[in-house]
Structures are given as structure tokens and as C-alpha cells.
């Protein structure tokens, strides 16, 4: 009886475990394609955690943008470069990596301290409590209203910044066009 009601909670621990395992696999596996696929799984399970919190919109966007689009490009690049697993083996421990490790450890300590501190009992009240969100028409609705009313300007500015980044990428990646077709023809004929 009780075991049945524990299923949602068990699902949380299952998902959390899967997230942890796949994150570890991303950084520890030798083959870059394996890493990329575990990254996809990782993002997917994190999205499942969001969905468990009833944040369906965030979950869907997480999978759509990260797992469905960005990592696909990673996978493409890795596959086309065709890195051999061996090529990665002999990497030494550099100073930069040591710094990263140190910062990560400090981050873990901070997060751990935060987690260890007592959690306030119950859910927060106010306009963003579960009941209030349900009242206002669900998570997606509340998110949309917030985004397009109080946070309209940041939202618009972010989209323009992204547009700028896209244009910049195209400019950087653009190949110089040959001067003219005629010139090329001549060069070919002279060879």
C-alpha cells in the first residue's frame, strides 16, 4: 500500500541517480561519441526532473533546444572529426585543469553547505506558490505572462543579442568569394 504511494518519490531518486550516472559518464568516458550521447541522456533526465516538478514548459524546451538541437551539432562535429579514443589518452594534468578542479571542489563545498543548512518547512506562499499558479491557469501560462509583461525588455534584448551572435557567426564563418569566375577560369587554363 505505502509502496505504491512512494512511486513518485522513487521516480525522483531513480531520475536523480540517472542524472548523476550519465553526468559522470560524460566526463569519464574515453570515446567522445559516448560522452556526447551520455550528455544527451543527461539533458533528457534533467528534463524529466523538471517535468516531475510540473514545469512541463521548461522540460520540453530543455529537450527541444539542448538535446534535440545543440548536442546534435556536437555529435556531428565529433563524428566527422572521427577522433580516435586513443588520441585523448595521453593528456597530462595541466595547470588550467588543476585550477578547474579546485574551483569545482570549492563549488561543491558551497553547494553542500547550502544543502546542509536547514530547509524551511512546507512550500513558499505568495504569487508563485503551487496553489496560486494552479489558480492562474497553470505553469506555462504563468511563465508566459511573466515573460511577456514584467520581463518583456530583458526578453527582447536577449533575443536581439542572440540575433547579433548569429550574424557575427555567419560573418566569421563566411568564405571569401573568388574575385570572379573569369579570373578562376584563366588560372585553371594556365595550369
Amino acid at each position: 500500500m505505502d509502496a505504491l504511494y512512494a512511486i513518485p518519490q522513487l521516480m525522483f531518486y531513480l531520475l536523480a541517480g540517472l542524472v548523476a550516472i550519465s553526468s559522470l559518464m560524460v566526463v569519464t568516458s574515453r570515446n567522445p561519441v559516448t560522452s556526447a550521447i551520455f550528455l544527451v541522456l543527461d539533458l533528457f533526465f534533467v528534463a524529466a526532473l523538471y517535468a516531475k516538478l510540473d514545469a512541463h514548459f521548461t522540460a520540453a524546451i530543455q529537450v527541444l533546444v539542448y538535446a534535440g538541437a545543440i548536442v546534435v551539432l556536437f555529435v556531428f562535429v565529433i563524428m566527422l572529426l572521427n577522433l580516435k579514443p586513443d588520441a585523448l589518452r595521453g593528456i597530462r594534468f595541466s595547470v588550467g585543469e588543476a585550477v578547474v578542479l579546485l574551483v569545482t571542489l570549492i563549488g561543491f563545498v558551497i553547494i553542500g553547505a547550502e544543502l546542509a543548512s536547514p530547509v524551511p518547512e512546507g512550500l513558499p506562499a505568495g504569487p508563485l506558490s503551487v496553489a496560486a499558479i494552479e489558480e492562474a491557469g497553470g505553469n506555462t501560462h504563468v511563465l508566459a505572462m511573466r515573460m511577456f509583461t514584467s520581463f518583456l525588455w530583458p526578453f527582447e534584448i536577449a533575443s536581439i543579442l542572440i540575433l547579433l551572435a548569429i550574424v557575427a557567426c555567419v560573418m566569421v564563418a563566411r568564405k571569401e568569394k573568388p574575385e570572379s569566375g573569369k579570373h578562376n577560369l584563366k588560372a585553371g587554363a594556365g595550369r
Partner: protein
């Protein structure tokens, strides 16, 4: 009568909303998965008999039980048995893990997406309301696109793990195509969201209660865009460049055989079915019976919500069947595109039209609401 008086009670199972939801979820998923597994054999049979009809050939018509040939219907059964029992050959140079995993990546998203389609109005059993979709997500559209976008990995991995240049080329083509056409596919549905004001597929169906409220009338351009992207997303003809036989042997599944080859088939047919259901749901009123309001259907069925749900479910299946037919029809009607044509159609034609469609719909809606 409540479920608790039915004698089904055991010590560890008390019927309440939670347990009913749980059991309903398991039963619905089992029914759906079981149903979807029946699809490919039937569709393969249709896909061989229909072109035979169109091209004045006979098609498979021999396999039957004793004297009953059943129009060759059992050919698919024989083929399935053959595919499952065939010897599995794994290429030497293949990446073993991903080679075996790739079909899973193809099938899993297709089945998961099928869970979000509303297959009918709510049932009412023993005083509990049971929605006729396996999961109710309040962002139905986005859920479908999100999960469907994961299908790319199956194709990409299959091509890469096979260690065959034709496979790799086919998978590159397929994944570039799927990513490109996902964008117009998503854009084609934004006007629908604008018009009905919700992302929930169940609510969209409810909003199409009368015939002229159907999405195809309120957003005709969206429907045309969706129809084209539907073919591209499933890698079906005329966009089946991923397996262009004359250039790539069989594309990304060149090195696959036996049950794993069948799994790719299963994935393709299930995603065809899901997109057909989505087209019916979004543009053709979903489970709504044409010209008859849902309340009238309930009244006609003697006030029984459950009988009405069955009628409505059959309606959706019929509508989806029509789109499956369109898939097969188009496949045997149109020749394959060239790859550059496909890409320029996607990026230079579908994308601007999709954007213009969104802006146009938004302007019309704004004008109508301001008046």
C-alpha cells in the same frame, strides 16, 4: 457503483484517484504499445498492395492459410517472422554498443510521442474520469516536438556506428534534413497556438467543436506547410534521400539486418502514425465527429460518455488513416527530390513562408480582437 464495491479490492490496493491513475496509465500504455506494434505489418502490406494496384501489378497475394489467401495479408506475418529469425550479422568495424543501441534511439521517441496524443474524450469509469491519452502534458505540442527531435540520434548513430561510408552519408543527409524541417514544422503550428490560445492538444481539439472551427479552415497555410514537413520529418518519399537506393545503397541502415532492421521500420511507421494523428488532431478536429457536436454525440449514444468516447476514438483513427494513406499515395506518385532542392525548399521557401504565416495570422487576430 464504485470500484471499491467491485470485489477487486485486495489488502494493498485501495481505489482512489492516485491508484486509478496509476493503473489507467499502465493499461493505456500497454494498449497503445500493443496497438502500435500491429501497425508496421499492416502498413507494409498496404504499401505493397496499393502501388501494385496503382501500377497494374499484382503485389504480394500468395501467402495465406491453406486455401484462404486473404489478399496476401499474411505476407507481412511471414516477413516479420523471417526478419526476427534471420541470422544477425554485425559488421566487423562497427562500434558494437552504438550499433545495437541505434534502433532503440529510433523506436523509443516514436512510442513516447504517441503517448501525448489525445485519442478521444474523457472516459468515465466507476466515477473516475480517465483521459484517453497516456499522459496529459499541458504543453502537448512542445512535448511532441521535443521528443521527436531526439529521433535524429537514432539515425545519426546508426550511420556512424555501422562504419560504412554509405551509412554515414545517409545518416548525415537524414539528420540535416530532419533538423532543417523541424523548424518549419514547428513554425507551421504557431498560428494554431495563436488562434486557439493553448499548447494543450486536448484543449485544441475541444476548441474545434464545429466543422468550420477546424484548424484547416482557420490556418490553411499552416496545414500546407505541416503537410510538406510531415513527409520530410519521417524521411518518406519524396524526401527519402536518406536512403536513396541509387546513390547510397540503403542509407543509414545499409549495415542493418534481421530484427534491428525491422526496428527501424517500426520507428518509421510509428512516427508516420503519430504525425498523421497530430495532423488530424490539430487541423481536422481530432476526435470530434464532423458536423456533430460532442454533446449531440453523447445524446445520440443514449447519454453514455463511454460509448461516445469509442465513437470519437474511431473518428480519430479514421482521420489518421486518411493521412497514412496520403503518405503512401504520395510515395508512389512523386519522384525523389535532389538534395540541394530539398535544402533550398526547406530554408529558402518553407522558412520564410512559415514566418510570414505567423506574422500574418498574428496581425489578423490582433485586428479581429481590437474591433
Amino acid at each position: 457503483m464504485g470500484l471499491n464495491e467491485l470485489g477487486l479490492n485486495v489488502e494493498w490496493l485501495q481505489w482512489n484517484q492516485f491508484t486509478v491513475d496509476l493503473v489507467a496509465f499502465v493499461v493505456k500504455f500497454a494498449l497503445l504499445a500493443g496497438g502500435l506494434l500491429q501497425l508496421p505489418p499492416l502498413l507494409v502490406w498496404i504499401e505493397r498492395r496499393v502501388p501494385a494496384l496503382m501500377q497494374r501489378r499484382r503485389g504480394p497475394n500468395r501467402v495465406g492459410i491453406f486455401k484462404f489467401r486473404l489478399y496476401g495479408l499474411l505476407q507481412s506475418l511471414a516477413d516479420t517472422v523471417k526478419l526476427i529469425f534471420k541470422e544477425e550479422v554485425v559488421p566487423d568495424g562497427a562500434h558494437k554498443v552504438f550499433y545495437h543501441l541505434a534502433p532503440v534511439f529510433c523506436v523509443f521517441p516514436a512510442f513516447l510521442v504517441a503517448c501525448a496524443i489525445p485519442y478521444g474524450p474523457d472516459l468515465n469509469l466507476f466515477g473516475y474520469v480517465i483521459p484517453l491519452s497516456v499522459v496529459r502534458v499541458d504543453v502537448g505540442f512542445l512535448f511532441i516536438f521535443a521528443i521527436a527531435s531526439l529521433a535524429v540520434y537514432g539515425v545519426t548513430l546508426a550511420g556512424w556506428a555501422s562504419n560504412n561510408k554509405y551509412s554515414l552519408l545517409g545518416s548525415l543527409r537524414a539528420s540535416a534534413q530532419m533538423i532543417s524541417y523541424e523548424i518549419p514544422l514547428g513554425m507551421s503550428l504557431i498560428p494554431i497556438v495563436l488562434i486557439y490560445g493553448t499548447l494543450d492538444l486536448g484543449d485544441i481539439v475541444k476548441a474545434q467543436s464545429t466543422f468550420f472551427q477546424w484548424g484547416v479552415f482557420s490556418a490553411p497555410f499552416s496545414f500546407l506547410l505541416f503537410l510538406v514537413c510531415m513527409f520530410a520529418e519521417t524521411n518518406r518519399a519524396p524526401f527519402d534521400l536518406a536512403e536513396g537506393e541509387s546513390e547510397l545503397v540503403a542509407g543509414f541502415h545499409t549495415e542493418y539486418n534481421s530484427a534491428k532492421f525491422a526496428a527501424f521500420f517500426l520507428g518509421e511507421y510509428v512516427s508516420m502514425f503519430v504525425l498523421s494523428c497530430l495532423a488530424a488532431t490539430v487541423f481536422f478536429g481530432g476526435w470530434q465527429v464532423p458536423f456533430v457536436k460532442y454533446d449531440t454525440v453523447v445524446a445520440l449514444m443514449g447519454g453514455s460518455v463511454n460509448l461516445a468516447a469509442i465513437v470519437c476514438h474511431i473518428m480519430l483513427v479514421l482521420k489518421a488513416t486518411f493521412f497514412m494513406w496520403v503518405y503512401i499515395w504520395v510515395r508512389w506518385t512523386l519522384p525523389r527530390f535532389r538534395y540541394d532542392q530539398l535544402m533550398s525548399l526547406g530554408w529558402k521557401f518553407m522558412l520564410p513562408i512559415g514566418l510570414a504565416n505567423i506574422v500574418g495570422t498574428a496581425v489578423v487576430l490582433a485586428v479581429l480582437r481590437f474591433r
